[in-house]
Amino acid sequence: MSLTVAQASDRRGDAAFNRSAARQLGLFGLATLIGLAALMWGLNLLASLTATAGGAPPAVDAANNAITVMLAEEPPQLDSTRATDQVSGLVLGHVMEGLLRYDQRGELAPGVAEHWRIDETGATFRLRADARWSDGQPITAHDFVFAWRLGLDPANASQYAFILYPIKNGEAVNQGRLPLTELGARAVDARTLEVAFERPIAFFDKLTAFATYLPVREDFYRAAEGRYGAGADQLLYSGPFAITSWVHGQSLQLDRNPHYWDQARVRLDRISVGYITSDPNTRLNLFKDEKIVMTGLTAENLNSALEQRWRIHRFMDGSIFYLEFNHREGRPTRNLNFRKALALAQDSGELVYKVTKAPGYLPGESLFPRFLDGVHGKFRDEHPARVRQMDLRAARAHLRQARQELGLDEFPPLVLLAGDNPVSNVQTEYFQAVFKRNLGLDIKIDRQIFKQRLAKMTAGDFDLVLAGWGPDYNDPLTFGDLFASWNLNNRGRYASAAYDRQVRIAQGAMDAPTRMAAFAEMQRIIHEDVVIIPNYERGVAYVTHPRVKGIVRRVVGADTDYTYAWIDP
């Protein structure tokens, strides 16, 4: 009896205690909130010391005539003599201009060079008088000579030095056999640039639009003391925009370059790179939130884009992807019948349409993608590629033949080397199942990070490798010489005298019909010798902000190009 009373009073006491404690806790909660707010305010202050405060503006800022875009990654290298990657190329395409450039229709147009003359032995470029660096000084012929010497300087160790080899003595200078001053490029006067060729070349004009050919001013480069291109202030600009702020990993701001000669073509005042991310979901979310003006679509988020009723565009980026065989001695893939068996046992249509499902991809048919020009029209229209239809019976017959030729009872498991990106993951698993089912072959997947994959490719440590190639310049040779026996990028070490002969013809000849015939012959050899199994030509489906017009996508040169874009009022 008394016990229950005590308990009851205890409970009452507890309730009172709890109320008081809860009030106390509430107070603490409030204090915490205030504390957190103070902390965040403090952090914000701190952050503003290291970053641009205010965050990124909206996708379209009509008042300031500015747009916001994103990049897949931080540009690794804005020193044009050493830049190798697509993102750096994109940024350089906005802030730099070389002798020639590509216009909005993808045609060559005059840049710093006003007019030029090219013949079999060399070229002469006349620079325009009003071409100026972003500090107002004129761009001179010497700036090009300096940049090209730098690109070939062995001490600079540029990976793209080979693209300067058509210039006389380029290769010798790069290998240290001749001094830099022996390079066949000369500034006759401030506005005249004279180039001598190593051997006749049919597409030098196209090369001069490439990043490695961009000018660099010597005094500025030397003043940067090895940090040229590391930050917004360590770069001098010759293009329509200039980088005014660069917060690494976070943002870049490109503002109109007032000293650029062709102001008329530039309609935007500012391009902000507000985000740097390679996560497709994040990019889609940013676009949905109207934070960026453009984003690419993956197979996975295509339906979301359709449901949002966004305007979808499509564009072939000119790169091709293929299964490359190891042609080295001792590999089963050296056997032609074995390669034929593999080629006949798979269907690139199924791969593209059902497995990768990526909108914009086309089944691979040839080493030469569809964008390349032929004599009059497109190369691939003039020389259609022959395609193997999947044929299991023939495939198995070739496999039997290969087994006899190699004297094998059973094929050892094949090593399929691949990168670790999502698309190649799907592909490797698909090929593994296909070759097992159709030919009874065991495939071991060897998935490696980028640099390990390259090391293994160079060492020949594979049977099959998922590889790809993108164009450096707008000529079939950028693909054609890939399988020349001397090309170091020919990682499968395919060697054929007949093929090499055709490459030499294409390199040396000046007239289009001869060259195109050579490329057609290369295309035939690749097909008949089954040097590779073409998988797909890459295309991109992307969505753009409805108010932003004139965004240019291009195969060769800076992709994407916003320099022609404008905001629809």
Binding site: G13, A16, F17, N18, S20, A21, R23, Q24, L25, F28, T32, G35, L36, L39, M40, L43, N44, A47, T50, T52, G54, G55, A56, M70, E73, P76, Q77, D79, T84, P154, A155, A157, Q159, Q175, G176, G226, A230, V247, H248, G249, Q250, S251, Y275, I276, T277, T282, N285, L286, K288, E290, K291, D420, I449, K451, Q452, L454, K456, T458, L488, N489
Partner: protein, 310 residues
Amino acid sequence: MLRYSLKRLLQGLVTVFLIATATFFAMHSVPGDPLAGDKALTERIRANLEAKYGLDQPLMTQYGIFLGNLVQGDFGISYTQENRRVNDIIREHFPVSATLGILAVAFAGLGGVLWGALTALYRNRWPDMAIMLAVILGISVPSFVFAALGQLLLVQVNGWLGFSLLPVAGWGTVAHMLIPSLVLGLGTMAYLTRLMRSSMLEIVGSDFVRTAKSKGLSASRIFTHHQLRNAILPVVTVLGPAIAAIATGGFVVEMVFAIPGLGRYFVQAVQQLDYTVIMGTTVFYGAFLVFMVIVVDLLYGWIDPRVRLE
């Protein structure tokens, strides 16, 4: 106290040296070629690049050079961003990670204590049930799922509102920090809530609380001075490891929310075999953690007088 601190500091330095050594040799046993690029290198260019990064030296010489530079606090030049020094990369990106981490720890610590105390007060009533359900989710759902869902939710909310309440990704203002740090701190917050709750419940029934009550102390005084203060102690002990987990666990959040933190750089550097960045980041984080643990230990001795530093 001072002698103890110095001793710990010295031990910490030795540990950092060992971490540097372990990282160096782990790094150099990685198969692959840090210099490889999409385009094959000619021998001449490769030789030049190797000379630039000192890769042409024997391994032990490289190790010696690495240690020599380390003593001077120089981590070298990045392989992928050839004109940036690793020191600059750390200097520019660590503050971002640290900001994110500090906020996450603050959320986790303060949130854990508050929610834990609340659940203990309302034991087995609805606030307890609701919070504990959330705690279970927080403990058992992987952080990358939270990050993706958190971002998706933000987009939806912004869409409904018709304006940007909070940014979906990016970095630069407080608004950018809010959701990522919450996501980052969520798991730890859940863990701490649980810890705080059981710690509170233990103390509510303890003798000194009963004594305090019978002495007639005010409820608020008992609650703050006797219950909360004592219940927080076990929470503080695990805060050190929690900070460590959060400081190095920010990769996912940084990747999903496009935050330029050091964690994201580390993952990229590993994928690119950027030797200098990997080594710099690891040694830096190792040193940071070692000294954080020392600081937390010293702090703990200060908060809890029962703990005597040897």
